[in-house]
């Protein structure tokens, strides 16, 4: 096979391919979580949102193919995935802002509920195949098939890559962005300025869940590109850690997502050249990486730089 022809070059290539292919879900979910956490709440339930998004995107793409055609159907799926995410986001936002209710616990409940909903309604869609999202063939210049397949890029990834700086700009240069940061960092100061904390958080959580839903659509409509109950390997949960790693900065969420997407494909890339020994351990590298980063950067004596001040408090 051509892998042999490429030899060890297959490893970095495989990792880069994995980066371009596998980082989009991380990116969307972490941007969604970033937006949520900037307002001072945690949404651990994005795992459920991701699954619901994946399922609804796939279902809608499959069901609407006959009426709107196979070019539009997957995009309709993406939209519906976002909307489904918003519904779950609304539940989380409402519940986690009730008095005495812990947002982390609500997140865990939303994981169970969201995945339950996804599996429940997704059952009939495991078999049929739905029209997939198109891809840009950026590797057409090369005649090596590995490079061609590695450089296939989904337009959705590009959207995500655009959203990251857009969100950074939003936090910096719009009145609403400043409001969100004020609410997340110092609710007292925000309240003194007459900002409604509940409303801001509600909108942030819903918008964040919209992004997570789209991340799910990427999973089922692009890569791996089918709907199964094991489609998400915890990307939704990882988002929380990823945002910490990215220091609540959307641009750094982008780099972190690429890093995690790449880390995720170390195992398969090594396997492709015949190293199978630590396959699963390499697969765990994103988690180990995150844990190590947290151990190194956290300190009992001071709070993390970049962390919204209200995060993890019952306000």
């Amino acid at each position: 096979m051509a892998t042999e022809a490429l030899g060890w070059w297959g490893v970095p290539l495989g990792i880069m391919a994995g980066m371009l292919r596998g980082s989009a879900p991380f990116l969307f979910v972490s941007l969604g979580e970033c937006l949520t956490e900037k307002s001072g709440k945690v949404n651990l339930g994005l795992e459920g949102t991701l699954l619901t998004g994946a399922m609804s995107a796939y279902a809608v793409s499959y069901l609407s193919e006959k009426t709107v055609g196979s070019a539009i159907a997957p995009w309709l799926g993406v939209l519906v995935a976002g909307l489904a995410g918003m519904v779950l986001g609304f539940i989380h936002a409402w519940l986690s802002q009730q008095p005495k209710v812990n947002d982390v616990a609500v997140g865990i409940a939303m994981i169970i509920f969201g995945s339950g909903i996804a599996f429940f309604f997704g059952k009939p869609f495991i078999q049929p195949s739905a029209p997939q999202l198109p891809a840009f063939e950026l590797g057409a210049w090369s005649n090596i098939p590995q490079i061609q397949s590695a450089l296939k890029v989904s337009p959705l990834l590009m959207v995500g890559v655009l959203i990251a700086p857009l969100m950074a700009w939003f936090f910096k240069s719009t009145r609403w962005g400043l409001f969100i940061r004020a609410v997340g960092d110092s609710p007292d100061a925000a309240l003194a300025m007459g900002i409604s904390i509940k409303k801001v958080r509600m909108l942030c959580i819903i918008a964040g869940s919209f992004l997570a839903g789209i991340g799910g659509a990427y999973l089922s409509l692009y890569y791996p590109g089918s709907w199964t109950e094991r489609i998400s390997s915890g990307q939704g949960l990882m988002a929380v850690a990823l945002v910490i790693f990215a220091r609540w900065n959307p641009i750094q969420c982008l780099w972190a997502s690429l890093l995690f997407g790449g880390a995720q494909s170390i195992g398969p890339a090594l396997q492709a050249v015949g190293i199978e020994g630590g396959y699963y351990l390499f697969n765990a590298s994103p988690y180990i990486l995150t844990l190590l980063i947290m151990i190194i950067t956290c300190s009992p004596k001071k709070t993390l730089t970049g962390a919204p001040g209200a995060l993890g408090t019952l306000t």
């Binding site: 209710v101 812990n102 169970i112």
Partner: protein, 364 residues
């Protein structure tokens, strides 16, 4: 007067969760109706599958056993104010350690010693796993929820790595597994039932945990630190040691669940260990409001619901994920009910008539 005030609070603590359960049943009925199933047929099927016959109830109890143990992994740290969700990871680590210990002594030791070795190994491995989370929390201020979550994935990767490589039984082809525990060393069943002794472990550990939290000086110290760290420090209580100790105990309960699954159900360690008992245990702990005795009862209820999945599929054509939807609904409604405590006048203690301040010099 004493019993009177207790009566009201107990009533509140019992009726709010029950009302939450009933309300979530109602919501679930609406959901089923919307999905085209007759809600009453669904209720009936769940009841029948969970508690309808002795056979069914034994199934329920088999599922309840690990749930009782994993729920403690969330419930115990919750008394210290920590949200730990590393149940799945601790269970997996406990299972791996139990298999390793069992296999290494099985050749020469009698069954009772093998089982003891497996239990101790499971307890220690799970305990160290979550104890590390507690230590990271105390010494490095690493958020315990996220670290325990990450540790779940690491534990599962470790499991896959070990059963796929170093510990693999070459004869396990489709599903990489470790060598099996000899049948003679596996946990037996309770006489006259199909239920293995793991249930007894679960019940006994829940009772011990309750006793530990409510009736010992250690539990008192932990509840104090969980309620107000400043008050705990003013009383000289060692908050850091308490954190690590409670996390160790929490992890060891889940680790024991892993041992039970390995020693009584699977007979070996493989990916079946990772069967969501850990995540369901979180739900059990929250519904039980982190009370270990209540957790053992809730575990049986939830075990029944989990057991009903396949019947719902066969009899009513509902996907087996229906039970997840139900679990999710119960969890959400129970969390909402947290905000209802103290809101109902009926559960409030009647105020004592306070005499005017002149006769009560300290009533500031």
């Amino acid at each position: 007067m004493l019993t009177y005030s207790r009566w009201r609070r107990t009533l509140e603590a019992v009726s709010i969760p029950i009302a939450a359960l009933i309300f979530s049943l109602f919501l679930f009925g609406l959901f089923c109706a919307a999905a085209g199933a007759n809600p009453f047929a669904v209720y009936g099927a769940i009841y029948k599958a969970a508690f309808g016959s002795w056979f069914a109830f034994q199934n329920t109890l088999i599922r309840a056993a690990p749930l009782m143990l994993t729920s403690l992994c969330t419930a115990l740290p919750a008394r210290l104010g920590l949200v730990i969700i590393g149940n799945e990871g601790a269970l997996v680590m406990g299972g791996i350690a139990a298999v390793a210990a069992g296999l290494s002594v099985a050749d020469f030791a009698p069954p009772i010693v093998v089982q003891l070795a497996m239990a101790i190994a499971g307890i220690i491995a799970g305990g160290l796993w979550i104890g590390a989370v507690g230590a990271l929390r105390h010494y490095r201020a690493v958020n315990e929820t996220i670290s325990s979550l990450l540790m779940n994935y690491i534990a599962i990767a470790l499991l896959n790595h070990l059963v796929g490589g170093p510990m693999r039984d070459p004869s396990s082809l489709n599903k990489p597994s470790t060598f099996p525990i000899p049948d003679i060393d596996k946990l037996g069943t309770i006489p006259f039932t199909r239920v293995h002794y793991g249930l007894l472990y679960g019940i006994v550990v829940c009772i011990i945990a309750y006793y530990l939290i409510q009736r010992t000086t250690f539990g008192f110290a932990a509840r104090t630190a969980g309620g107000n760290v400043k008050a705990a420090r003013i009383a000289g209580l060692p908050v850091g040691k308490l954190t690590i100790a409670i996390c160790f105990l929490a992890g060891s309960s889940a680790g024991l669940a892993g041992m039970v699954e390995v020693a009584a159900v699977h007979g070996r360690a493989n990916e079946s260990l990772n069967a969501n008992y850990g995540y369901a245990g979180i739900l059990v702990a929250f519904i039980a409001r982190h009370n270990p005795i209540a957790a053992s009862v809730v575990a049986i209820l939830l075990g029944g619901i989990l057991a009903s999945g396949s019947i719902l599929q066969r009899q009513l054509g509902l996907p087996d994920a229906t039970v997840y939807v139900f679990q999710g609904l119960v969890f959400l409604v129970v969390l909402y009910s947290e905000s209802l405590y103290g809101r109902f006048a009926i559960f409030k203690e009647p105020d004592v008539v306070t005499p005017p301040t002149s006769s009560a010099p300290l009533a500031g």
